[in-house]
Amino acid sequence: MLTAFDDTAHAYRRRIYSFARYLLSNREEAEDVTQEVLLRLWRHQDGVEEERLGSWLLRVTRNACYDLLRRRRADATQPGMAASLGEEEAHELVSGEPGPQSLAETADFRRRLLAALGELGEPYKSIVILREVEGLSHREVGDALGIPEVTVRVQLHRARKKLRERLREAEP
């Protein structure tokens, strides 16, 4: 029989990991962050209201990712976010449902899109990942990031505009 922790952890682990994975572009680090976040859930669940649990977990995930990125930046030997997208990583991320374009062209577009996403600043990157990739509503994104819904809408537009500009610059 599953315990309450198992139920909660299994319900949220994919969302935590996927958010961390797109923020960090690194599988091992995303697993570490997921483990760290679930450990915090174990320790602090008492202090979190049931209805705020999802947004609390995403906020903790984002903070953990940014702590890790700060440490990564401090360590000059580590590659940057965009550069850390290795061949295996890139293959897994770009091999989703193909669009109407050819597979090779789609894969190339996604590679450039992910690189542009990796270069986005905050809160743009988190907003794009949570809204467009993870499919959260504007209100859920706002709850997770602690910003009003209307701000989420405005910043999402700015974020996609930045992606558009970067992709246009990077067009082959």
């Binding site: 952890a9 483990q35 679930l38 008492d46 897994e92 993870e134 499919g135 700015r158 505009k161």
Partner: protein, 183 residues
């Protein structure tokens, strides 16, 4: 410039692309943008790119981690502190609070009995105490098995107050004013 006419500038059109892609423009604004884009290949390319970016972002895979991570966390967490599920954690505290209420009532009853030199109704007090213990144990068992929360007021209303009233009646003391639901 009036955005609702057909003379939308390219700058204005580009500003409207993202809200248009999200379906957030008013029908008149959307029609104006479409009209501009039909006659402007540069803005048409930008709109196609904006739509493709959104489409590709939404088709990116949602990634999953190895399920062993949950087991690893459970092992690691149990070494540090046992997991206390939200719904049952507060129960011992509540039981302790209810027990404290009972102790207070019993202690007060005993004090009253001594000082009024009334005949001690020890058997009734003992019976009420036993009933209270059974009731608290039952509540705890039900709560643990069902993982359902037991609210403070339920314990107070269903266990503490009836027992204190019963004891008080047996020793001739009125507790009517101590009921939190009564003015």
């Amino acid at each position: 410039m009036n955005r609702l006419d057909d003379t939308l500038s390219c700058g204005d059109a580009l500003d409207l692309l993202e809200p248009y892609v999200d379906g957030e423009l008013a029908p008149a604004e959307a029609a104006s943008l479409r009209s501009h884009v039909e006659g402007c290949p540069a803005c048409a390319r930008e709109l196609a790119l904006a739509e493709r970016i959104q489409r590709e972002l939404r088709s990116l895979p949602q990634l999953d981690c190895p399920p062993e991570i949950v087991e690893r966390v459970r092992r690691q967490g149990a070494e540090v502190v046992p997991f206390r599920p939200r719904l049952t954690t507060r129960l011992p505290l509540r039981l302790a609070a209810a027990a404290a209420l009972l102790a207070l009532a019993l202690g007060g009853g005993a004090f009253f009995v001594r000082h009024q030199q009334q005949e001690a109704k020890a058997a009734e007090v003992a019976r009420a105490t036993r009933e209270a213990r059974f009731a608290l144990a039952y509540l705890g068992k039900v709560s643990r098995r069902t993982s359902l929360d037991v609210r403070d007021e339920v314990i107070v209303r269903r266990v503490a107050l009836p027992v204190t009233r019963s004891i008080s009646r047996s020793i001739g003391l009125s507790l009517g004013s101590s009921d939190p639901e009564k003015p």
